[in-house]
């Protein structure tokens, strides 16, 4: 037998108290340990919440003569520089806009994205209204819902720069709006 063993067992302190201490330390350290990798992960996961909004973009789409004078809407693609995480696309279609000329000098613009759930709005077969094929919403040429449309609001009008319009240029501020709600909220 090992001589240096003391004759009676040493109980340095109360085992209950020691165990309690051990348990507390284990739980605290364990929590801290797990929270570091999980925390870093959650931070990256939630990073999109703090990134910028889509933002608006002012872009020239046409000159006024390009638009039919009878008021038929014409669809224009918005092609712009777009950033997707790390990639910067120099020319990427990011949406489309209906332009409609009213009389000689007035132009209205509608986003072609359906306010119901974001499908792409078209002109119906007889060319008399806007029509969304997804859930059959119909809008008149002023963008107002008509018939039994499910869309909570009319088509989203976009701003056309009045000063440039006087010079015959159609510049539109392109923004995206939240789908599925009655109010027009920018996203």
């Amino acid at each position: 037998m090992n001589k240096s063993l003391p004759s009676e067992p040493i109980e340095p302190d109360d085992p209950e108290r020691r165990q309690f201490l051990e348990k507390t330390v284990s739980i605290v350290l364990g929590g801290a340990m797990v929270s570091v990798p999980v925390g870093a992960g959650i931070a990256t996961l939630l990073a999109p919440l703090s990134s910028d909004k889509g933002g608006s973009l002012k872009i020239r789409l046409a000159s006024i003569e390009d638009l039919p004078s009878d008021g038929t809407p014409k669809l224009y693609q918005i092609v712009a520089e777009k950033k997707d995480a790390w990639t910067k696309y120099p020319n990427k279609p990011i949406g489309s806009v209906f332009l409609r000329r009213i009389g000689e000098s007035k132009v209205v613009a509608f986003s072609s994205s359906c306010p119901h759930a974001g499908c792409s709005v078209d002109i119906d077969s007889d060319g008399s209204a806007f029509f969304c094929p997804c859930h059959a919403s119909s809008f008149d040429f002023d963008g107002i819902t008509q018939g039994k449309s499910v869309s909570p609001r009319g088509l989203d009008a976009l701003e056309v720069d009045p000063d440039l319009l006087v010079k015959g240029e159609v510049w539109v501020t392109f923004v995206k709006f939240k789908a599925g709600v009655a109010d027009k909220v920018e996203v």
């Binding site: 090992n2 240096s4 063993l5 003391p6 067992p9 040493i10 165990q19 051990e22 348990k23 330390v25 284990s26 350290l29 364990g30 801290a32 340990m33 797990v34 570091v36 990798p37 999980v38 925390g39 870093a40 992960g41 959650i42 931070a43 990256t44 996961l45 939630l46 990073a47 703090s50 950033k83 995480a85 790390w86 990639t87 910067k88 696309y89 120099p90």
Partner: protein, 666 residues
């Protein structure tokens, strides 16, 4: 609360399971030396957590892998910490694996009935290494790309099936999208799944057989660990001493002090005849919870601390994007593969068979020896054979690793390569910032359209056979990429071409006829030299002429002085037309003048230089007087035949932009 718990318990038995897991008896009491298995479990858990989050941001393809890792590292909130933890935990895990193995072997915990558990452990070791190896490629940077290429080429030397094996592993004849998708599936899918399954079996078997009680109840036995610790920390100190130049001083002091402390403790224990706790404490059994878990938690916490320490101290490297056309000779595997890497350079492993021997047979034999340990260790002697074998393996591993790193750190070519790679990595970051994003074709395209990166390379391969680009301190002509010219310089030095300084030198007789300019060409005897000798230009004249001519170049670096010195420049142009100098007799200046010499309209501007390099035999430039300057772009000769150019338009523009200092700059 209690009701909910019993409801859950009745249906799942979760409480019983937790009890079973936690209230395990630890014979002989909890000990610090039992922690290694737990630290490994913890490390693997960290890898799973961070790995899944990294997965959410990573994109495995040849044109997005590097880019997405760049994004994680530089733009994603806390992304660099996430990636750092994943990277450094992988490094520390290898150390923990070795410690776990050492503990198992010295306690002979592989003896019957635990052989299978040992074998599963060894398999786990190899799966972990495979996971590291596949993970190394995923950032698709120069380092990972070229280092992994070596590894997969080694797979190609496996007898008979080698070529097919290599093709299957890399998903084709060459590295590309499918190499990444395959490696990623292995790294994040197959290998981790295997890891979990085997760890399950490993822990099940461990629980089935119970812990192997550490034996050293004797003084010598107890001191054994102190001696191990002493050897370990002293070894660390020695390694730190060998690399003391490349590290801050504390890297040497910390292990030295640790070793000293342990030695003092050993001496103390000997003098006082007392053992450490393990022998002194009564051999009363402990409980896994909380006795052992308490120790596990503290050591795991220390492990995490070490990981974070490295994340903040060393950071996590991302070298420049993989470029299959630019071999990166300084690519090295992860440090724990370095012994194998170095070994392959040794004499016996040369030649075709040598490679098979070094890459397959030797590692194969060593791992079989590991597998055999439970059988060898049946007898007491066998156990000591195993212990010695293990120490020899670890010792050899350490020595080879140190040698490999020592060799690299004293190899100028290696250091130069690494420096260049770092510069390039920084340059990519600069370009991405400048461009505010990465083009869809990937980050490499930024480097390929960057004059500062491509100009020197193109100059060195295409121009430096005749031209110099500046001189080193000893006056040797350089080739643009900072190497000495192979041949003698036979055409003008083009550093600073078009600048006032450069043009002023051209207008002096000495420089004009020296080998730094036209000394080794036909123009040495030309009319221009006659003119320079005859007119004996005053310094003042030279300044004015140079300012005027140089303003035509529209150099970015001179835009300020070009704008300020309008008077000087105007005078310069005037002199060129005056009878005394009469430059216009031979040269066109601002569109008017003679045709004998090169047209100096827009002299050294971007377009002028591109046209000139494209075809200097054009009548706008040297015409028939051209000496040896080839046409670098396609050109039609006076006789109407098409002469093919050596380069394409884009390359010539890159050279010109680089020469003119026209590139993205902070």
């Amino acid at each position: 609360m209690k009701g909910l718990f019993s409801w859950l318990e009745n249906r799942t038995g979760i409480g019983a399971l937790a009890k079973e897991a936690l209230f395990e008896r630890v014979p002989g009491g909890a000990r610090w030396r039992y922690v290694w298995g737990s630290t490994l479990t913890f490390a693997i858990m960290v890898q799973f957590i961070t790995g899944v989050f990294l997965w959410m941001a990573y994109s495995p393809s040849a044109s997005t892998a590097w880019e997405s890792v760049y994004y994680i590292q530089n733009e994603l909130t806390f992304g660099w910490i996430l990636r750092g933890i994943h990277h450094w935990t992988a490094q520390i895990m290898v150390v923990l694996l070795v410690l776990h193995l050492v503990q198992v072997v010295i306690d002979s915990a592989y003896r019957a009935p635990r052989e299978f558990n040992f074998w599963f452990g060894v398999i786990l070791l190899f799966i972990t290494l495979a996971t590291s190896l596949t993970g190394y490629l995923l950032p698709w940077d120069q380092k990972g790309f070229w280092a992994t290429k070596v590894a997969t080429n080694l797979a190609g030397v496996v007898p008979i099936i080698g070529d097919d094996l290599q093709r299957v592993v890399i998903g084709g004849a060459d590295y590309g999208h499918h190499t990444l998708t395959r490696f990623f599936a292995l790294h994040a899918g197959i290998l981790p799944a295997a890891l979990i399954a085997l760890i399950g079996v490993h822990i099940y078997l461990f629980r089935r057989h119970g812990i192997t009680e550490a034996k050293p109840a004797t003084r010598v036995g107890a001191l054994y660990y102190w001696y191990l610790l002493a050897v370990g920390s002293a070894g660390l100190a020695v390694v730190a001493y060998l690399f003391k130049d490349s590290n801050p001083p504390w890297v040497l002091w910390v292990p030295s002090l640790l070793a000293a402390g342990v030695l003092v403790r050993i001496v103390f224990l000997h003098l006082h005849g007392k053992d450490d706790n393990s022998a002194r404490r009564p051999k009363r059994d402990g409980m896994f919870w909380p006795d052992q878990i308490f120790r596990d938690a503290i050591v795991c916490f220390a492990v995490l601390g070490a990981v974070l320490f490295f994340v903040f101290w060393k950071g996590t490297e991302l070298t420049s994007p993989a470029d299959p056309s630019q071999p990166y000779n300084a690519a090295r595997p992860d440090w724990y593969f370095m012994p194998l890497f170095l070994m392959l350079k040794f004499e016996p492993f040369q030649g075709e068979f040598g490679l098979v021997l070094g890459a397959i047979i030797v590692p194969g034999v060593l791992s079989s020896m590991l597998f055999m340990m439970p059988l060898i260790g049946l007898k007491k002697v066998g156990h000591w054979v195993n212990v010695v074998l293990l120490y020899v393996l670890i010792g050899g591993f350490v020595v080879l690793t140190v040698m490999a790193f020592k060799k690299d750190s004293s190899d100028p070519a290696y250091i130069a390569d690494v420096t260049k790679a770092h510069e390039q990595a920084e340059r990519v970051n600069e370009l991405i910032e400048f461009n505010d994003g990465i083009p869809p074709e990937g980050a490499l395209s930024l480097l390929y359209s960057d004059p500062l990166t491509q100009g020197p390379r193109l100059f060195a391969t295409n121009c430096s056979t005749c031209h110099a680009y500046g001189y080193d301190d000893d006056g040797n002509a350089l080739d643009g990429a900072n190497k000495k010219l192979i041949d003698k310089q036979s055409a003008p030095d083009l550093k600073g071409v078009g600048s006032r300084e450069w043009i002023s030198k051209v207008l002096t007789v000495d420089h004009y006829q020296s080998s730094k300019f036209f000394g080794n060409t036909n123009f040495k005897k030309g009319k221009m030299l006659e003119f320079l000798v005859d007119t004996e230009l005053e310094e003042e004249d030279v300044t004015g002429l140079a300012a005027a001519l140089s303003s035509e170049a529209k150099l970015k670096s001179q835009s300020d002085i070009d704008n300020n010195d309008t008077k000087l420049i105007a005078n310069g142009f005037e002199w060129m037309g005056e009878d005394e100098l009469a430059c216009v007799d031979c040269h066109k200046i601002k569109g008017e003048g003679g045709k004998k010499g090169p047209d100096l309209t827009a002299y050294m501007s971007r377009q002028w230089l591109v046209d000139f390099i494209g075809n200097s035999s054009h009548e706008r430039f040297y015409g028939d007087d051209n000496d040896r300057m080839p046409n670098f772009l396609d050109a039609v000769s006076a006789e109407g035949e098409i002469k093919q150019g050596k380069l394409d338009q884009k390359s010539v523009e890159l050279i010109v932009d680089w020469l003119r200092g026209e590139y993205a700059d902070k």
